[in-house]
Symmetry: C2
Subunit: 448 residues, 2 copies
Amino acid sequence: MDPSRRKFIEKTSLAAAGLGLSNHLLARQNPRLKDVNGKLKIGIIGSGFRGQSHIDLILRRKDCEVTCIAEPDPIMLASTKKLFDDAKKRMPKIYDEGPHDYIELLSKEKIDAVIIATPWKWHVPMAVAAMKTGVYTGIEVSGGISLDECWELVDTAEQTGIPLYFLENVCFRRDVMAVLNMVKQELFGELIHLECGYQHDLRGVKFNDGISAYNSGVEFGDKGFSEAKWRTWHSVYRNGDLYPTHGIGPVAEWINLNRGNRMETIVSMASKSRGLHEYIVNHPKGGKDHPNAFIEFKLGDKVTSIIKCKKGETIVLHHDTNLPRPYSLGFRVQGTKGLWMDVNKSIYIEGTSPAHGWEDAQAYLDQYDDAEWKSHAGDAEGAGHGGMDWFLMDSFVKCRLENKPPKFDVYDAASWMSITPLSEASIAGGGTPQAFPDFTRGKWKEKK
Amino acid sequence: MDPSRRKFIEKTSLAAAGLGLSNHLLARQNPRLKDVNGKLKIGIIGSGFRGQSHIDLILRRKDCEVTCIAEPDPIMLASTKKLFDDAKKRMPKIYDEGPHDYIELLSKEKIDAVIIATPWKWHVPMAVAAMKTGVYTGIEVSGGISLDECWELVDTAEQTGIPLYFLENVCFRRDVMAVLNMVKQELFGELIHLECGYQHDLRGVKFNDGISAYNSGVEFGDKGFSEAKWRTWHSVYRNGDLYPTHGIGPVAEWINLNRGNRMETIVSMASKSRGLHEYIVNHPKGGKDHPNAFIEFKLGDKVTSIIKCKKGETIVLHHDTNLPRPYSLGFRVQGTKGLWMDVNKSIYIEGTSPAHGWEDAQAYLDQYDDAEWKSHAGDAEGAGHGGMDWFLMDSFVKCRLENKPPKFDVYDAASWMSITPLSEASIAGGGTPQAFPDFTRGKWKEKK
């Protein structure tokens, strides 16, 4: 490691420990995070399909550039390089010597920011390493592997004073942001109950033919390609809400989690597991004698959790990725004056809507459309996931350029990710309630 | 009590205890439940609005008649009598000397069946008394007051051998029955996850002006009228799923509860309570100084439960009666091949529906429309709750006339009702899982 970086880490650790300064104060005073000269230099750790989507967004921007990439997979690297060729941009420095070569990248490269888009188990070790080298760190979303790991993320951020940006894109979905405006203007009154989740038929993602990523076969692990290489193992060995943040992120904004409110307790239950097995058995490339037909998948097809918050709200969280179904994040925002649900695209506001009747939500979504979306819908066009990824990247880049705290910080990351190990523990205990650690160590009470 | 009835009870108790005969066997062999001579003579205990709705249905039928009524409230009795005058039918014998006069009715009247439609806390004592006098007993739906009470219902039915019919009308809803046909024909494959509940803005029912029943004021208890007289107290003193059966009844049929399957564990959480207080404060007849504005309502505005079943299914159960919202029982039936949801009136069946897209459910509901509904839609027209009450009454009457076991029996009643005290215990314990008693004492394994 660059000796000056090591020195910096020691210094900031001392400062954090000795003075108890908050992460944000440290970030603002951090000499390593002063104004960027010229374009924001971004390193990419993991340029699989998700990393490439980030790179594509960066290539479209004038205020940042990708200067280095760590990615061990030659196939992914080839399609990554093509992005730069197609855009006629300078090829970044490539670190491709195995999965640990990101350490070299972090030690050698002078970068202003790093984006980590790797298999889930790598997120925390990589983010910890990145923060320790003094680089503003963005990590892709995932559930946590363990509570210890969530704490490690927090401890490292606090010790280094380096801001961590948790890259939850759904918080930038157009309806989600419009509903946030409705919530702020108290259209729903005081919020009482929320629902959300990840209901996405991933069978054709968890399995493929090892060559093309989607809906092409029943292989996974070493014989799989892209996410099937690694994501599927979580369905083999774990039973819990494996991917909670697309749901909980928007809810967190609506009810101010870690900003005057927090999640206190969770209970989870899982149904039996049938979907993945049946997918293998019924697939033309599978069958009852295919080796994967003998694998027992631990993940229940439908995992449901209920979370109770400090301010008295309840949240229902769905996880449903093994069965045939249309995509739905299943949002519901319900307060003392009415509610919105996304599954029926409807809203009801007492005194405004016809008594006991739903209204189409679209007129409300238009009326409360976020100013950012109004201004930048053109820029976002063609960006991933209906444009919301453009806003995510814009926020990630600008927080660094303007030296502002991340929109979703290390406490959000740790608490949202902790849902996964907590739900696993609850299910393993037959639905026993699990207490959320207070990753903010009390700071949630003051933070706005 | 009529001495011959007392003797009968002793006899059947001995038979049940000594030979371990099932309720159904006893019912079939029960000399008191042999073929009815002429019309089925029905006694009504409780002729409030719900009881009157039952009477109205009986008055329209040729195979049964109301011969006696127990109802202490002179206002309800007046509107009850008007039903008979309007129908030009013979006035039944009236028992109106206080709330215990139903005992007189049961002891004196020669009836073939009794329907109990009274405030919740009376259901079990009245049903127990009715079964002990040897009368085929129908009870209106409610949540249970305690587990002991649920057991008392079961014990009495087993000891007396008298069949109890639990009058859950939603099981006869046209879409619910069509979906049952879909389930039986395995349209959804193996069922994995169910949702249901009672989401009904009851603020204008829990409070009124003491004169007209709905949306007329903020009074309850002694100053209220109809349900506001008694139902509201449950919201003052209890925090749980107070009214689970409209949701769980249909689900029970879909996944064969008590017939090869059973509910094993429940966890429940409740949100804060705001809705009822705000209703009083904001009502033109209420205000912040109204005496009821100082009452603390224990019932959380949104109570959510998750139930795990023996066969591995999960059930999410909603209870949501204190907030402004459109009515919804929130059904979801999800299996290995697809799902139906009633909130968006949509269905998805793998291989039939467009990939990842919802279809309007109506074509399916028409295709799988129940034969009973097809034949009797005309009869049901104008009957309560969109016609389903006609089918309920038809089933209740015919089970007795044809000496068949009740469609929903004492084990269904006890297990469905037990959700209420179990959810209260779970919430009181911070979401601790509660085990369902096996009210069938193992008979769920054999019963079809």
